[in-house]
């Protein structure tokens, strides 16, 4: 380690011409092909790319965690401080993992063992790799837990993962990764599953650790906001190849490769565009005092109440997009599901064209189902895998007495409208990509000729370039059909781009509500301010490239 300090040019990790072959059944020959980059001491290197770019495979190769037999490195070198990791035996790799390099994962819940206390899980690493006594180990565990700013580590070591918040779990993961002072920390999308305020804290933590411990960090992400926030240098990957690398600012401000330019210009800006006010259009959807309370009844203890949504009042005009922004657990999805009447509200009114649908009987509700349609987050689960997409699209109209022939004609028109081949109606969902499936879901919703379209995190699972296209499509159909859109998202950038007005939800209540431009320019409520401050790369104006 002293060598590295003395000789700044000796990289901690040096990947040279790495190629990893995919199984024969895959759509391309190699998962990563001729990839070369290096991580220097005391720097954060971000590897950024869309899904399928090979960024995770690269990281797993370094850690020696590739699924054996399916993925095999066929060429190149992976040098950790000069030692080729590809030549190590599984036993040697086991000694290196955790001690000289360690990894943190995306999903902090599944990466921790739910049946072991968090202290024991960190201690396990010390037990495996060191000769420390039990007392020394406990002292070290508390020390690293304090280093990652976990509150009251003496008490927390006895807690189990389910007792901690998502952010605390990720801190535990990081504490475990740092327990042996590794020279290299690999972070594979460590903040993707976290809320934006928690994400900001974890990013700051990783930055602090890198500074105080001098650890080199290989940070994998798909989010350019995160890149702008923490990267020293960037490597951009596409289809398993490195297309561009360089100093973060240079790459972000003056990208050379067309793919990088396309990716960066797809990142939505935090500044909402000017949108004409729609105050004169009639109100299509309105909720009054909408509440949803869950009662957890039990024989042996008092009933517990959870207020998922409380006194939610919102209205959407024809041709307008209202965004509901909030973190997980804020109740935004509950509101959406109440309006679609997938769940029944506890109290309050839901007015569609001034008809209250909050308390309709099952048969009356069915008649009104046409009016509100929803597009869900997960494109892979939103379509019945056993039915053709055509069958999925015509199902709704046929429920309302439209003949099959007419419904099919409508479906073909809609497929064209959402930018897909009308002849593809005969195909099954698995033959489409995630973005295409989301287009099909939009077509399915539009086939009902709804008054209100609800998009529940509809672009959150998509890659940034696909996301931009689907957002454009949504805005296009809003104009074309003069639809009222209720757009639910946790992503402020997306909200800024598509919403006319924004409602911020926090703990089941709307805490701030106003035109998008105003909310973004001068947020009033404390929570909104905190939310906006936490958005990664908020000060960074993407897509405004400097002249080369």
């Amino acid at each position: 380690m002293n060598d590295a300090q003395g000789n700044k040019t000796q990289p901690i990790l040096d990947i040279r011409g790495l190629t990893v072959r995919l199984p024969a059944s895959a759509d391309r020959e190699n998962a990563v092909e001729d990839v070369s980059f290096s991580v220097l001491p005391e720097e954060i290197l971000c590897v950024v790319g869309e899904s399928g770019s090979g960024k995770s495979v690269t990281a797993h190769t370094v850690m020696g965690l590739l699924p054996p037999k399916q993925l095999q490195p066929t060429a190149g070198q992976v040098l950790l401080q000069g030692e080729d990791l590809l030549k190590k035996t599984p036993n040697q790799m086991r000694d290196l993992r955790g001690a000289r390099m360690s990894m943190i994962f995306q999903e902090p819940m599944t990466a921790l063992n739910p049946l072991m206390s968090v202290g024991a899980q960190i201690e396990e690493i010390l037990q495996i790799h060191t000769q420390m006594s039990a007392r020394e180990r406990e002292a070290r565990v508390i020390e690293v837990m304090r280093a990652v700013s976990l509150p009251e580590p003496e008490r927390l070591i006895h807690s189990y993962p389910h007792q901690l918040s998502g952010g605390q779990r990720q801190r535990v993961m990081i504490a475990g990764a740092l327990a042996l002072e590794p020279v290299l920390l690999i972070a594979d999308e460590p903040t993707t599953a976290l809320d934006v305020t928690t994400q900001a804290q974890i990013l700051k933590l990783i930055k602090d650790i890198q500074r105080t411990h001098g650890t080199a960090v290989l940070f994998i992400t798909h989010d350019f906001g995160v890149v702008a926030e923490i990267a020293d240098r960037v490597v951009v990957m596409q289809h398993g190849k490195v297309v561009e690398q360089g100093v973060a600012r240079t790459v972000l401000k003056n990208p050379q490769h067309p793919y990088t330019r396309m990716l960066i210009s797809s990142v939505p800006s935090m500044t909402p565009p000017v949108r004409p006010p729609k105050d004169s259009a009639p109100v299509v959807l309105e909720t009054r005092d909408l509440c949803k309370t869950y009662r957890d009844r039990s024989l042996f203890r008092a009933a517990r109440e959870t207020r998922a949504a409380h006194n939610v009042e919102l209205s959407v005009r024809r041709g307008e997009t209202l965004g509901i922004v909030g973190e997980s657990g804020s109740g935004k999805s509950t509101v959406a599901r109440c309006i679609v009447r997938l769940i029944s509200p506890s109290s309050g009114q839901i007015l569609i064209d001034n008809n209250d649908i909050a308390n309709l009987s099952a048969s009356r509700l069915r008649e009104n189902r046409r009016l509100v349609q929803i597009v869900f987050q997960d494109p892979y689960r939103s379509l019945n895998p056993r039915r053709t997409v055509g069958a999925s699209i015509v199902e709704g109209p046929m429920n309302f007495g439209v003949s099959r022939a007419e419904a099919l004609t409508r479906a073909q028109d809609l497929m064209k409208l959402v930018g897909l081949d009308p002849h593809a109606l005969d195909r099954f969902p698995h033959q489409f990509s995630g973005g295409q499936r989301q287009r099909i879901c939009i077509a399915r919703a539009l086939a009902m000729k709804p008054e209100v379209l609800i998009a529940d995190e509809a672009v959150s699972a998509l890659d940034v370039s696909v996301q931009a296209q689907v957002l454009e499509l949504l805005d296009d159909i809003r104009k074309r059909f003069n639809l009222a859109i209720l757009f639910i998202t946790h992503d402020l950038r997306v909200a800024a781009q598509i919403c006319d007005r924004i409602a911020v939800m926090y703990k089941g209540e709307i805490v701030e509500h106003g035109p998008a431009a105003e909310v973004f320019r001068a947020p009033q409520h404390d929570y909104t301010q905190a939310l906006f401050n936490a958005a990664p790369g908020r000060d960074f104006e993407f897509a405004k490239f400097e002249a080369a």
């Binding site: 939103s382 039915r387 005969d426």
Partner: protein
């Protein structure tokens, strides 16, 4: 839409599909193939019983009683001179009928109850308590009670064996329904105004089929065993019907003198049950690749 499926078929071709099947199922799961072939062999034997060099399975011929296996009587004769080979082959008809009938009946009833129970929460509590009640009654005991109430016949025995199998099918189906009903595509169908029966049949039922096929094989095998046990203790089909259980029950007292009376139907029963179970295991691996990979 049929045009699509046809086109898809053409893409790989029927011959290609058969080749796929051979490569995927037979090569990867040879046990499935062995089980399947053995079972088809048994079923063919049962159907073609009169043409397989058998004689009348209930014709008495006391002069030739208790003969050891020989050219005229491949599996020997019993204490009344009946041909054990003929009785074993004809017995396959009874056992396979009971096995398949119980499997089909219990799956059909269990599937219906399971779908309703899993999707309609109000009925769930009631239906599942009834199932708990059914499960707490030992199957054999229920069968004996039913047979002694309504007399021994093939139908009574089939019903008696079916009833205790139903709760297990219900639980399986209900578990699948509970996990699938939360899927966004089901919710999208609800939001599109699809009626409940259609949602159940179109979107939920297809997910229960793979585990049910596997379950059906186990039910079939265990039903055949239960039928034999009932026959053996004299509570099954009427003694004049040559089921494997009955043949073995009659041969029991002559075991030391003429072990072939028990041995041949016994080994056939064991082979058939083994074939069905092996087939079931193989199908489970094929239909749920996740389990197969772990093994």
């Amino acid at each position: 839409m049929s045009a699509v499926t046809d086109r898809d078929l053409d893409a790989t071709g029927l011959r290609g599909r058969i080749a796929d099947f051979r490569r995927n199922v037979l090569a990867r799961h040879p046990t499935t193939a062995i089980g399947g072939v053995l079972l088809i062999f048994m079923i063919l034997g049962a159907i073609l019983a009169p043409y397989l060099f058998t004689s009348d399975p209930i014709a008495l011929n006391p002069i030739y009683r208790l003969r050891a296996p020989q050219e005229a009587h491949w599996f020997g004769t019993d204490m009344f001179g009946r041909d054990v080979y003929s009785r074993t082959v004809y017995g396959a008809r009874i056992s396979l009928f009971v096995g398949i009938a119980v499997a089909v009946l219990s799956i059909a009833i269990g599937l219906t109850i399971g779908l309703i129970s899993g999707y309609i929460r109000v009925l769930d509590a009631i239906l599942m308590r009834v199932m708990d009640g059914l499960m707490s009654i030992p199957g054999i005991l229920l069968a004996i009670a039913l047979v002694s109430l309504s007399g021994a016949s093939l139908i009574t025995v089939t019903i008696a064996i079916t009833i205790p199998e139903i709760p297990r099918v219900v639980r399986l189906v209900r578990a699948v329904v509970l996990s699938v009903r939360e899927e966004p595509y089901v919710e999208a169908a609800v939001a599109a105004g699809t009626r409940l029966p259609l949602i159940l049949i179109r979107h939920i039922l297809p997910n229960t089929i793979p585990p049910l096929i596997v379950q059906a094989t186990y039910v079939c095998a265990s039903a055949m065993l239960t039928e034999a046990i009932l026959g053996f203790i004299g509570a099954g089909t009427p003694p004049e019907i040559p089921s494997w259980g009955n043949v073995m029950a009659e041969g029991r007292t002559y075991f030391q003198l003429a072990p072939w009376i028990i041995f041949f139907p016994g080994i056939t029963l064991a082979l058939t049950v083994l074939a069905i179970n092996v087939l079931g295991d193989g199908l489970r691996d094929t239909l749920d690749p996740r389990i197969a990979k772990k093994m």
